[in-house]
């Protein structure tokens, strides 16, 4: 089974990359999803999580927006146009063969590389320790707290005992951000609601 391709790389750095894709399907791409992209000539993959999805406007959209009642055909036409959606990914780890490590990859992915969704086993391997949470907390332009909750939600599904996984994650967070009790408490309450 070949992985589900969801887009192609626009630009990248060691810490993050952005890819473009066509009009999204209802379920993909979504905030907090785990994706991978080949690096180093396809000998390895960078793995990350989607932290932002941007749709640009253009002149036509601006004109249409002015109308009070845009006919439904026009809206659909507009959405059929080849206008890329920009998806930003925070790199959390990389994979050589089946070996997955957290941390930043040795090289960034090249433009036009294909982006694919991660398999359950890859997600499980990447999130079996919680070091990836540190990278999320260090990201400067990602909505850290929200992203943490969504990423843990995805990760928990890849582990056999969801509740235990979330509890252990919660303990890690409590150590990581114990000095910011209000923020910690908010995140933990969100995790609790996922049980």
């Amino acid at each position: 089974m070949s992985p589900i391709q969801i887009g192609q790389l626009l630009h990248s750095s060691i810490q993050s990359f952005t890819f473009g894709c066509a009009i999204p399907k209802p379920e993909m791409p979504h905030f907090g999803a785990f994706v991978k992209v080949p690096i180093q000539n396809g000998t390895a993959h960078a793995i990350g999580t989607i932290y932002n999805i941007v749709l640009e406007d253009d002149d036509l959209v601006r004109q249409i927006v002015g109308n009070q009642d845009t006919p439904i055909e026009i809206i659909q036409d507009q959405r059929q146009r080849q206008m890329p959606i920009e998806v930003s990914v925070l790199t959390l780890g990389y994979m050589q063969g089946t070996k997955v490590r957290t941390g930043l990859p040795p090289q960034p992915p090249l433009t036009l590389s294909h982006i694919a969704l991660c398999e359950h086993t890859e997600i499980a391997a990447l999130t079996s320790d919680f070091n990836f949470l540190r990278l999320i907390f260090q990201a400067s332009d990602a909505p850290t707290d929200e992203l943490t909750v969504r990423v843990l939600e995805q990760a928990a599904q890849a582990h056999p005992n969801r509740a235990q996984y979330l509890r252990t994650a919660g303990q890690y967070l409590a150590q990581l951000m114990g000095n910011d009790f209000q923020r910690l408490d908010t995140i933990l309450r969100r995790l609790e609601s996922l049980l």
């Binding site: 252990t168 150590q175 209000q182 933990l188």
Partner: protein
């Protein structure tokens, strides 16, 4: 190993440690936490592990519990838990504690932001290849793991049970594990059993005496105030236990009584009645009662004068209601004012109720008792109805002890100068010891002397008391082994620890013992202080000291008979 494993620590067999349940195996050490700070002088701080059973590590932790810190250089540090503390990394959690209806949050906080700490006092240290633990001069390094003590740990410290080491109880929550008391060291110096009323002092004392006598470590002279030691004991709920004279089959103590009527009614087998002739009482025997009789210094001084003037029968003469010329002369001569004399006479009235005081006694019971003691036979002196009469108890204890001690001194001196046999060590057991050893009188009474002269004459004390603060400091500091049940008075607790360095951390332990059958033992006869659940005083113990019940007797008889039939005898 991933981080997840750090949260789920595992032992070598990859079993989670301290998580889920401890079923795995009895030997598996239960980890309690890690050393995070502290000092040699003030004790060590341990951060407690979080347990999967909510709050278990903290709530199962008990002051007085025996734990082992496994040092990083393979040294083991045997320690006692002295305090348990709830702590947090962020005080904000005290303002907004998680909702109890939300176990998820509480669980997470309990393992991280909020955690338990324990203070432990390292007492002994065992080097990697050493057999014997030694007092510790260092402490376990940072992050040394701390475990519940195992049976093996306890045995390493307290040794095997044998003829010199008697099993007296088990560490808290370690039923069946034996803490053994070194009997030779126990009788080597004076000892004390302390505790509030009803905490089990008499039971502990009886156990200790059974061991000392059965193993022939010393002859004991027991002033049995409340008939606790000699014959059958009945508690307020009607349960009965056997006394020393019943269970010690081979080295049976002799039972003397001041109240033959009661002893006979109890069906006790007595060796004799204890009586004192008036003419044998000396002023020094009475002087010890001065505070109880409210004798002023002048009156006390007058006793000696009266003895000199009136001769051997001074007490009888003073008690004689008809009066006598002799007494009139004393007043006439002006050596004594009438007020002093009649005060003394009034105060002596209480001798009339002591019907063991007699004009003439047929046997010389003091010599009889001394001979038994020097031959290795212990003596229990039962007070019967006089048990509640403290002046009677003190008079007799003082009277007999002074005379026995005097003979021991002579025997010892003789043994030293003529290289003869040393007298058997003697241990004198007194209850309400603070009455004998209070600072006012300890300096010049026989009991203070015995405590202070150590075992110079092979005589030591075993004091039983519920108010150790009333005992003279200097005497207290000579008490080598202290067995202490619950005490709740601050002064008493302080007294028990006087002269014991580094004991302050044990105060909390002492104040929190159970109200019965738990005791802290520290001092000469144990390698380190330990809190025990005292051994049940029951059939098993009776047998351990040589008691033969009917079945045993039958078996013994049959084996002797078959030896006989086979011609061995």
């Amino acid at each position: 190993m991933s981080d997840l494993d750090d949260f789920l620590p595992r032992d070598e067999d990859n079993r989670p440690i301290g998580l889920e349940n401890d079923t795995a195996s009895e030997e598996a050490r239960v980890r309690l936490g890690v050393v995070v700070g502290g000092s040699l002088s003030k004790g060590i701080t341990v951060k407690l592990d979080s347990s999967s059973a909510v709050g278990q590590t903290i709530e199962d932790m008990a002051v007085g519990r025996y734990v082992v810190a496994q040092g990083l250089t393979k040294r083991k540090f045997f320690s006692i838990v002295t305090d348990i503390i709830l702590d947090n990394t962020n005080p904000a959690i005290e303002q907004t504690p998680p909702d109890p209806s939300s176990p998820f949050l509480a669980d997470i906080y309990r393992a991280t932001v909020a955690y338990g700490r324990a203070n432990i006092s390292p007492m002994l240290m065992l080097e990697e290849d050493a057999k014997e633990p030694r007092p510790n001069k260092t402490i376990p390094a940072h992050f040394s793991p701390v475990f519940k003590a195992t049976e093996e740990d306890v045995n390493q410290v307290f040794g095997e049970e044998d003829d010199d080491h008697f099993y007296i109880g088990s560490p808290l929550d370690m039923d069946g594990v034996k803490v053994n008391l070194d009997l030779d060291r126990f009788v080597e110096r004076s000892s004390g059993v302390f505790g509030k009323s009803g905490t089990g002092k008499s039971f502990i004392t009886r156990t200790l005496l059974a061991a000392v006598i059965a193993k022939q470590k010393a002859s004991c002279l027991i002033f049995d105030m409340h008939s606790d030691y000699g014959w059958e004991i009945t508690n307020e709920r009607g349960k009965t236990w056997k006394g020393l004279t019943q269970i010690l089959a081979s080295n049976r103590p002799s039972l003397y009584t001041l109240d033959a009527e009661t002893s006979r009614a109890r069906n006790n087998t007595i060796s004799g009645e204890f009586q004192i002739q008036y003419s044998d009482i000396e002023p020094a025997d009475v002087e010890m009662l001065s505070s109880m009789l409210n004798l002023s210094d002048v009156q006390t001084g007058a006793l000696y004068y009266l003895r000199r003037k009136l001769g051997k029968d001074w007490v009888a003469k003073l008690l004689d209601e008809k009066g006598s010329d002799e007494i009139d002369t004393i007043i006439d001569e002006g050596m004594l004012v009438k007020g002093t004399l009649s005060a003394i006479q009034r105060k002596f009235e209480l001798f009339r109720r002591m019907d063991f005081l007699v004009e003439k006694s047929s046997n010389n019971v003091v010599t009889e008792i001394f001979d038994k003691l020097t031959n290795g036979t212990s003596v229990v002196l039962e007070f019967g109805k006089h048990g509640d009469n403290l002046p009677a108890y003190m008079l007799v204890a003082n009277y007999l002890t002074r005379r026995v001690h005097q003979r021991y001194v002579e025997a010892k001196n003789k043994a030293t100068t003529q290289k003869g046999a040393q007298p058997k060590p003697l241990m004198i057991v007194i209850e309400e010891a603070h009455k004998f050893l209070d600072p006012e009188i300890a300096k010049h009474t026989i009991f203070g002397t015995i405590a202070r002269e150590l075992r110079k004459y092979n005589v030591t004390l075993l004091v039983v008391d519920q108010r150790p603060s009333g005992i003279d400091d200097e005497v207290m500091s000579q008490i080598g082994t202290r067995v202490t049940a619950l005490l709740d008075n601050e002064a008493d607790i302080r007294a028990v620890f006087s002269g014991v360095s580094g004991a302050s951390s044990l105060r909390e332990v002492l104040a929190r013992l159970d109200t019965q059958q738990q005791a802290l033992i520290l001092g000469h006869a144990v390698p380190m202080p330990v809190v025990i659940k005292t051994r049940d005083y029951d059939e098993t113990l009776y047998r351990a000291v040589g008691y033969l019940n009917e079945d045993d007797q039958q078996t013994a008889y049959e084996s002797a008979k078959s030896d006989f039939d086979e011609g061995y005898l």
